[in-house]
Amino acid sequence: MAQLIQALVLGVLIGGVYALMASGLALVFGVMRIINIAQGAFLIMVAMFTWWLWKHTGIDPILASVITTPLMFGFGWLVYKYLISRIRDQSPSMSVLLTFGFALVIEGVLNVVAGNKFKSATPSYFEESFRVGSISLPKTQVYGFLAAVLVLALLFVVLTRTWTGRAIRATSQNPSGAALVGVGAAGTAALAFALGTATTGVGGSILSVLYPFFPASHYDWISRLLGIVVLGGLGSLPGAMVGALVLGLAETLTATYGSLRWSTLVFYLVIMLVLLFRPQGLFGARLREDAV
């Protein structure tokens, strides 16, 4: 029983971090119908930078997200302005190829700059745990989860309570309608992309503590995150949250009762099963434009 509770709690903690990482992907897809394959590479890039900061200044890796997040916001804005916006008129599949190419460029640069070795940030509390009754929770997991939830809550407030956020949501639901009431689609798209990229600032910093990484790890991450987004329903933020929880739980439960090496496969199996019965994903609405 304790084992089950331990697995469930751990699954939720991991799921929270996944939710943050996937939220940027869902946001960008919702507003622009662009799948940003480079999101995983962004995460690894931030993790590398965080690791470097921690190594040289001793700054806490998770707290380093205060620095990385605004940097990534600016980075995302630039990427949108100089890459993504240039192919807005082309078919959406070109954006997949463009961001895929960009992910490779980042991987290649990281290979050259940082070398092709596994890294992991190990702050002082790295091996400590909180104990609640018979279950033990690694401090890194708890801090990571708290940071993720905090940022998700902030994102939620931005999206629902500010004019910018409402503009982003309006554009994602009805671009031409939003344009009519004075919301410029181009500016909003840039903001949404920058915001979506900014989430990797926090996500990458958390990643550097929780998981070992090296430049080519971004494939594993992007396929996990994309899996979450497909499971939840493309473009749906609540869907991404639920998908992330499912992944977290699938991983910890498989690791507890089966073997760690099957955990990712179990998740892919869950995705295929869900798609078998709900082709549009858990929360994916069939949009009016989807009508054939």
Binding site: F29, R33, I35, I37, L83, R86, I87, Q90, S91, P92, S93, M94, V96, L97, L98, F100, G101, F102, A103, L104, V105, I106, E107, G108, V109, N111, V112, N116, Y219, D220, I222, S223, L226, G227, V229, V230, L234, R261, W262, T264, L265, Y268, I271, M272, L275, L276, P279, Q280, G281, R288, D290, A291, V292
Partner: protein, 649 residues
């Protein structure tokens, strides 16, 4: 080119230039090992280029023709390799005998994945393809009993003497490459290939003309896996060693995508040309440019650069440039062809023959429309159907009947739910409640293409032709039934193409058969769309504003065709705002307002119905005192249909 033409026989010279060049290139590649037999290194580079070309050319079927990008296609290479290696180990026979099974495994896996993921439109597919590639890698690592896990499998060495080096593999890959290109060319020639391109251009429209989009995509995905699986089997024997990381490498997928993109995705030879370029550049980079570590960076930069600066790819870019340098004269005088009612086809045929062609084409369409129903029976029945979009009720408990042999009009103000009703009837959207019956069958749960196969065709308010296809391809694309034989029928020559030509002649656009559909005028596109629907052998045609944006003379041609088809038993449901046309053409007339019908009857009654005058027609149509009734003004500036038709003749 003249020198070349002097050298080759006439029949060869008649082939398109690109096939000639491909043939010469193939000849050189066949001769190369004979001319230069003791050079294993260049042969090795070449055979890897062949393998990449096989993969890129196969990828092109699902991602180029159908537009569904796969980023995990190297998975099929690994599947082929593992199938062959495992079975060769177990059964103790030479791997080459098992190569076909590698292809079979690849197809089976593709069809399984495809039938889960390809049922919907959109982006889930590309995402799943990446996930499946990584999943395959994890499986290969974890299933130790079968795959030896990360240790990998070592195969027996080739049985031939080391002196021959790579030559047998060189020819094996070359043969598979030729087969792959022929296979791809054959697919593009069939209605299956036309359907795939239709899906890329406009998937909703494709479904409405009888293309079973799910089946097409799944079969396309399966077809794109076969030769890669075969190549994978040969590759395993060539390497004599395979492991999970090497066999299911994402970089393998990157070079596939990059090759097709560089050469020109969606074209026959583009992926092959691209594969040679990418393989040679990659080899040069490895030898001269700091080893394979930098390859990721180079491929990434190349992919970004191609997407940004040459998205169409090399071959299409060259072709556009060539066309600009060597413009071909096209007759743009359409009016004469479209308008002279008798002169329907091009060429020296007598007008009598032309009329016969047209009669035969129309008769063939009408043949499908004839059935047990007699004129006057209920053909289409809409019972209490509703559709809401959020708070807006677009169609509100609407009922409507179309009788066999009628031309029923559906008129009403903008936003009264006419087009939404069309979408519900043809399956573009599903109703929230209510039933729709066609020929005594309930159809509201059927897929759009199933409704098309039953004989329900439609045109769109704003034409939705496949703009990058030729006019003829547009008309060939529809599938009147769900038979596999129809799906694989030849679309370029033979019966289907001939019918398409005849139908184009019927609407007077035969001479535009070879033009890009997007280059036609709006009114001409409307006529092509009508011909396209006729290919579906419909019993009932739903026309959404057929007269919108069509000039009066073409409109005359349109009403003429509608009349002729109707005389032969095809029924119509017409949404139209050109009231004089409606009153002249249609009987009965149904008036829609606020999502339901408010009046129905013969045109004469409708035009005087006070409810209709209030809701839609307005005061201009209110009966005036008898004295000036002859001088009743027409709303808008459009001439009446009667005048239009007279003006034509």
């Amino acid at each position: 080119m003249t020198r070349l033409e002097a050298l080759v026989p006439k029949r060869l010279a008649a082939l398109p230039r690109r096939h000639l060049i491909a043939g010469v290139a193939l000849l050189l590649l066949l001769l190369y090992p004979v001319i230069n037999p003791w050079q294993p290194y260049p042969q090795g580079v070449m055979l890897l280029a062949f393998m990449l070309a096989i993969q890129a050319s196969s990828w092109n079927i699902i991602s180029g023709y159908a537009g569904y990008i796969s980023l995990g296609h190297s998975m099929f290479l690994g599947l082929g390799s593992y199938t062959v290696a495992i079975l060769a180990m177990r059964w103790g026979i030479n791997p080459l005998w098992l190569v076909p099974l590698g292809g079979v495994t690849a197809v089976v896996v593709a069809v399984l994945i495809g039938s889960v993921v390809l049922r919907t439109r959109g982006h889930a597919f590309v995402i799943i393809t990446i996930a499946m590639l990584l999943a395959a890698q994890i499986l290969a690592v974890n299933f130790r009993g079968l795959t030896e896990g990360s240790d990998g499998i070592t195969l027996e060495l080739p049985f031939w003497s080391k002196d021959y080096q790579n030559i047998p593999f060189y020819y094996l890959f070359l043969v598979v490459l030729v087969l792959t290109v022929l296979f791809s060319a054959w697919i593009r020639r069939t209605k299956f290939g036309t359907g795939l391109v239709a899906i890329r251009e406009d998937e909703g429209k494709a479904a409405s003309i009888g293309v079973n989009t799910t089946r097409f995509k799944v079969v396309g995905y399966g077809a794109s896996a076969f030769f890669i699986g075969i190549a994978g089997g040969i590759y395993a024997y060539y390497l004599t060693f395979l492991n999970p990381v090497g066999s299911f490498a994402i970089l393998g997928s990157v070079v596939i995508v990059l090759s097709s993109l560089v050469g020109g995705k969606g074209t026959l030879y583009g992926p092959v040309v691209g594969a040679f370029i990418v393989q040679l550049v990659s080899e040069a980079a490895t030898v001269y440019g700091g080893g394979s570590q930098t390859r990721v960076l180079i491929f990434g930069l190349a992919l970004v650069a191609v997407v940004l600066f040459m998205p169409a790819g090399l071959l299409p870019t060259v072709e556009t440039w060539w066309r600009k340098r060597h413009p071909v004269d096209v007759e743009y005088t359409d009016q004469a062809g479209a308008l002279s009612a008798g002169a329907l086809s091009e060429g020296p045929a007598s007008s009598r023959e032309r009329v016969e062609t047209r009669d035969r084409a129309l008769a063939e369409v009408a043949e499908a429309a004839s059935d047990e129903l007699t004129p006057g029976d209920v053909l289409l029945e809409v019972r209490g159907v509703s559709k809401r979009f959020g708070g807006l009720v677009a169609v509100d408990d609407a009922s409507l009947t179309v009788r066999k042999g009628s031309i029923t009009a559906l008129i009403g103000p903008n936003g009264s739910g006419k087009t939404t009703l069309f979408n519900l009837v043809t399956g573009g959207m599903s109703a929230d409640s209510g039933e729709i019956w066609f020929e005594g069958k309930r159809i509201d749960k059927l897929k759009p293409w199933q409704r098309g196969h039953l004989g329900l065709g439609r045109t769109f308010q704003v034409t939705r032709l496949f703009k990058d296809m030729t006019v003829q391809e547009n008309v060939v694309a529809p599938l009147p039934d769900s038979h596999w034989r129809t799906m694989f029928a030849d679309a370029v020559s033979g019966h289907e193409a001939a019918r398409a030509r005849e139908l184009l002649d019927v609407v007077g656009l035969g001479r535009f058969a070879g033009e890009r559909a997007g280059s036609l005028s709006y009114g001409q596109q409307k006529l092509v769309e009508l011909a396209q629907v006729l290919m579906l052998e419909p019993k009932l045609i739903l026309l959404d504003e057929p007269a919108g944006g069509v000039n009066p003379s073409l409109l005359g041609r349109l009403t003429e065709v509608i009349h002729e088809l109707n005389d032969r038993g095809v029924s119509f449901l017409v949404v139209e705002h050109n009231i004089p046309l409606v009153l002249e053409l249609c009987d009965p007339v149904v008036v829609f307002s606020r999502g339901r019908s408010i009046a129905e009857g013969p045109p004469a009654t409708i035009r005087e119905d006070p409810v209709v005058l209030d809701a839609y027609l307005g005061d201009d149509w209110r009966p005036k005192p008898a004295a000036d009734s002859a001088a009743r003004p027409d709303p808008g500036s459009s001439p009446t249909a009667t005048e239009t038709v007279k003006g034509v003749r």
